[in-house]
Amino acid sequence: MNEFERRLIDAMQQDSWIKQVARKDKKIVDVDYFVYTATLTALAVGNSAQTNIQVQADSDFALAYMSGQMVVGGAVSFLPSTVQITDTGSGKTFFSAPALFNLVMGNAGLPFYLPAPRVIAPNTNIQLNVTNVAMGGATDYWFAFLGARIYYAN
């Protein structure tokens, strides 16, 4: 690490957003922008599906934005589907009950900005459960979880 990087990290640790997500007992050595993604395809009406995103073992993931899009027959869809997101490490869900996709996954390329960040521990899964409750057709889902990977000194 050169002097510039060292000073940047020092400054970064004073940032109010980083302070919300940083472990109190550890020293940050790097913070990188990162996006975890997932896809579910051809989910039929009335059906549910699940997929998992493996969070890397070397860093915490501080989630800042969620973004998603539904596609039916090649066109962007706004028909209702519900989604529940679970941090399998802590066992905690993001929503008290499955939420409408359109209301929590952003829209038209604009992501949903989380009111407060959510930290996902290393080596855990982000589990996505989706249900197609629409009257439309088989739906494809794209998910993107945008945030920062935070690396600590051992």
Binding site: F78, F94, F95, A97, V104, N107, P115, M135, G136
Partner: protein, 169 residues
């Protein structure tokens, strides 16, 4: 009263509005060591002209919930988003505080059009604190001027963060 002194003015918990008749709160924000994004969700099915319905969301016992924005979306029975004249009220049951007087149109709190625009968030001017273990009542009703069709589903999401007193790290 906890013996730990508040170091900064913002360490003192801001009591929810309408809290006057309740016991004083003797807890400090400084003790809430971790805040974490969370969304409470509720939904209603099959609302027609003249209907009233109410849901109570039980709040988690482990963290105070600070509400920052509300989104809602109505859908026809066929699933398409719709912009109907549904009214609603949101109440903090613990304090009896109502968010709207006398009520608000769901259209005004972030309803999509039936075109491309999905829900818009209604930002709460100042985050509102629902204390842990409390509950939120969401009431909806369809006035007589309501369109002559049935809404298939109405979804509400209440976005904010949970503040915990104890966290893993």
């Amino acid at each position: 009263m906890n013996s730990e002194a508040a170091k900064y003015p913002q360490d003192i918990l801001i009591p929810p509005k309408g809290n006057g008749a309740l016991p004083p709160i003797t807890r400090y924000n400084a003790q809430n060591v971790r805040r974490e994004y969370f969304t409470y969700v509720t939904s209603f099915d099959a609302l027609a002209r003249g209907d009233t319905a109410s849901n109570i969301i039980a709040l988690r016992p482990d963290g105070d919930f600070w509400l920052t924005s509300i989104n809602a979306q109505m859908c026809r029975t066929t699933g398409e988003p719709v912009n109907a004249d549904l009214l609603c009220q949101i109440t903090d049951i613990r304090t009896g505080y109502n968010f709207y007087r006398p009520h608000v149109s769901v259209r005004a709190i972030g309803t999509p059009t039936n075109q491309l625009i999905a829900a818009r968030a209604q930002d709460i001017i100042e985050p509102y604190c629902f204390l842990r273990g409390g509950s939120i009542r969401v009431t909806v009703w369809a006035p007589n001027r309501f369109a002559a069709f049935t809404i298939g589903s109405t979804y509400f999401v209440l976005n904010g963060w949970l503040e915990y007193q104890n966290a893993a790290y």
